[in-house]
């Protein structure tokens, strides 16, 4: 169906996609960059900070883009990243 699509779908708010909360244990990271490379939504990037192990840990660019696939958790050799579903309340502490 090749007609042009340009509008925002009318029911886009109705689609309840889980909101993610990304946790990075900064000092556990050894800077391999797998999570950055394999994230399908390109949510992460290398930060300028230097952690206890002397490497640049990843930083969250746009948490709203995360779809909770948790592939970063799967590929992290150092158990330094995990994602949980954000509860619908206001007092959320941002990590990373």
């Amino acid at each position: 169906m090749p007609e042009r699509i340009w509008r925002k779908p009318l029911d886009s708010e109705k689609a309840k996609l889980p909101k993610a909360e990304i946790h990075i244990i900064r000092d556990q990271c050894k800077g391999c960059g797998y999570c950055i490379q394999y994230c399908p939504q390109k949510v992460l990037e290398e930060s300028n900070d230097i952690n206890a192990r002397g490497v640049h840990p990843p930083r969250v660019v746009d948490e709203s883009k995360c779809v909770l696939c948790s592939f970063c958790t799967s590929v992290c050799p150092d158990f330094a990243i995990f994602v949980i579903e954000k509860k619908e309340c206001k007092e959320n502490v941002k990590h990373g």
Binding site: E3, R4, R7, P9, D11, Y38, Q41, V67, C69
Partner: protein, 807 residues
Amino acid sequence: MVEGEKQKLEFSEEVRIGVYVCHCGLNIAGSVNCEEVAKFASTLPHVVLAKDYRYTCSDQGQAMIKSDIKEHKLNRVVVASCSPRLHEPTFRKVCEEAGLNKYLFEMANIREQCSWVHLYDREAATEKAKDLVKMAVAKAALLQPLEEIEVPILRKALVIGGGVAGIQAALDLADTGYEVYLVEREPSIGGMMARIDKTFPTMDCSICILAPKMSDVGHHPNIELLTNSEVIDVKGYIGNFHVKILKKPRYVTKDCSACGECAKVCPVTAPNEFDAGLAIRHAIYTPFAQAVPATYIIDTRLCLNKEGIIVCDKCIRACERQAINFDMTPETVEIDVGTIIVATGADVFDPSTLPNYGYGKYPNVITSLEFERLINAGGPSGGHLIRPSDKQIPKRVAFVQCVGSRSNRNERQYCSNVCCMNTIKDSLLIKEHWPETEIYVFYVDIRAYGKGFEDLYRRAREEGVKFIRGLPAEIIEDKKTRNLWLIGENTLQKELYKINVDMVILSVGLEPRKDSEIIQRLLTISRTQYGFFLEAHPKLRPVDAATGGIFFAGCAEAPKDIKDSVTQASAAAARAGILMAKGKIAVEAITPITFPEKCKACGLCTKVCPYNALTLRKELKRVEVIEAACGGCGTCAAECPFEALTQKHFTDEQILAQIDAVTEHEAHKKIVAFCCNWCAYAGADFAGVSRMQYPPDVRIIRTMCSGRVSPKFIERAFARGAAAVLVAGCHPGDCHYINANYQTQKRVERFWKRMEQLGLNKERLQLLWASAAEGERIASKIREMHEMIRKISLDEIERTKKAFGGG
């Protein structure tokens, strides 16, 4: 397969021609002295009998010919009457019934191309009729009995496109008992009709009447449904097509129960194409609830799992039946079928190319297709017509007609057929739900031509829908309210209007599929100037393609509504069924004959053949003809420089004999015209039927295609002193033989160059493209040439004769 020696049957017995000059009541006798023509015919060589008769095509006339064939041992028959396009089959049958091969019959067209176009010049018309009879007799003397070959037809059909037309055609064929492959490139069948809310004029729910049919297709034992698939290659010919289909993976197996648990967990969303982008779908989805097959599909452009890496396994975990399989790969399915039905449908016009209507910029300007999804209970708004800007129900609505139809802008001059009634239906739907809504319809003409259409139109007017003639010149948005101003001229009241509405619906037209060129190329079929597929005859073969074994259904052929699509689909299925029921077909014996001893294996003929029916066998120093694939245009015969190839029933000798007959007397006053059977000759017939008058200088020689006209025919005409030559064929792109008339153009252009080099007036050779409907174009060309040849001196004619080796 064919060898000249075998094909050129010895026909050594004495040639005995019978000539019948028909009065056709007063249709011919009114301006032609038929008795005199018959008397003249009796003096021609080989003619043993010449009669004039009141109605030759009547039962009595036919009986007379039959008894004459037996009594006078006639072995050739010439009837001078109407066009061979009308009664050649009738008289061929008469010959066959009297035991004569049907290819030993020839016709002289003295009605459409003589008496009717020269109504007021009896003397000239009679002289012309004599010439036409002389030409027919000259050709008849050289006719050979021919055998038609029979080609087997596979009893399987392919239907391309699973819209309502494809569905109907597939079901009809499958119910008749044939095996059917239905190929659809979308994940589900249903097409455009599945997206429409209600149908006109009965206001039936569209999907409610379509869904049972879709389900029938899914369950039919004779139908193999291939969705998410595309035809990528077609080889072969009528009765024997070999087709390759690319079946793209769904990544969901048939075990899917369509429970939808996978889509619920899928974290990726995108606009659903089925809902014109007004609703969302997930990467794993089914386009709509009634989809057939019901199996879900994964859109790999959206899915997170790319290049074999399973990043996200939410759907896999959610699927209880374990129907998701990311290891599926594309496969190529190869099938053999006897007939093909093309039901590829149409696209809708993109109104964002018209900046004055603001589509794509103003949120409350929507298309008729978006409207269908909005008003549909299963659509994104649950059947509430809401403005996209604020989701409020509009109180004033305007429809704008002919958006992308009947306009010189965008080169879409045709009427899209469905939009008027669709708008009337839509306006009534609004009135039904929200009776207080003010509705304006801006139109050019309202075309309510079908059964029940006018009643619906009247109902809309009675319900208070305001019809205003004159499309808005511009739509302007009020930035604050997002309301729209329509500015234009009411052409009935001759006054300007400026109307404020909450929402505008652009009634978008239909256009050919953007990629219909692929199907055109794969199936070697033609398209009209606007790009829809061209039927073999607009009146008498409306669902056949010019290429044998291929039929059209639905909007692929021209914009049409559901009823017409279904009608055409059933017709196409019946036409395909006729072929398959017989199981074999006789191919008209107008294929090429080769003379291998003259062949230099240069391969020129194979290059010009539009059907790839000629294969060069360099090692054998000859070409082979696949007679079943041959369309019969004869352009190969015109191309061969060594006379190693000619067309049966239109041989070089036969056509040269016709030219010689024309140019025997007073050639300097005559125009020798070559007209293709399908366009120019039919156009000349149309001129006759319409009684358009033109000067009697012209003598038309019929060939199947203008591509048959060999330069040596033109040469011969000039060498024998003809004043002028006209070559006329179908418009480029409309050729009955795909593209054979491009060869005509090339040859004529080359001949012009040659005439220039010889210092001759190249105006004496004219090339004309005229369709079967353009009688006036042909008549005026002949008038123009008549004026031109009056200025040609005898000296010039003599010079031309010498230049081309004539006496």
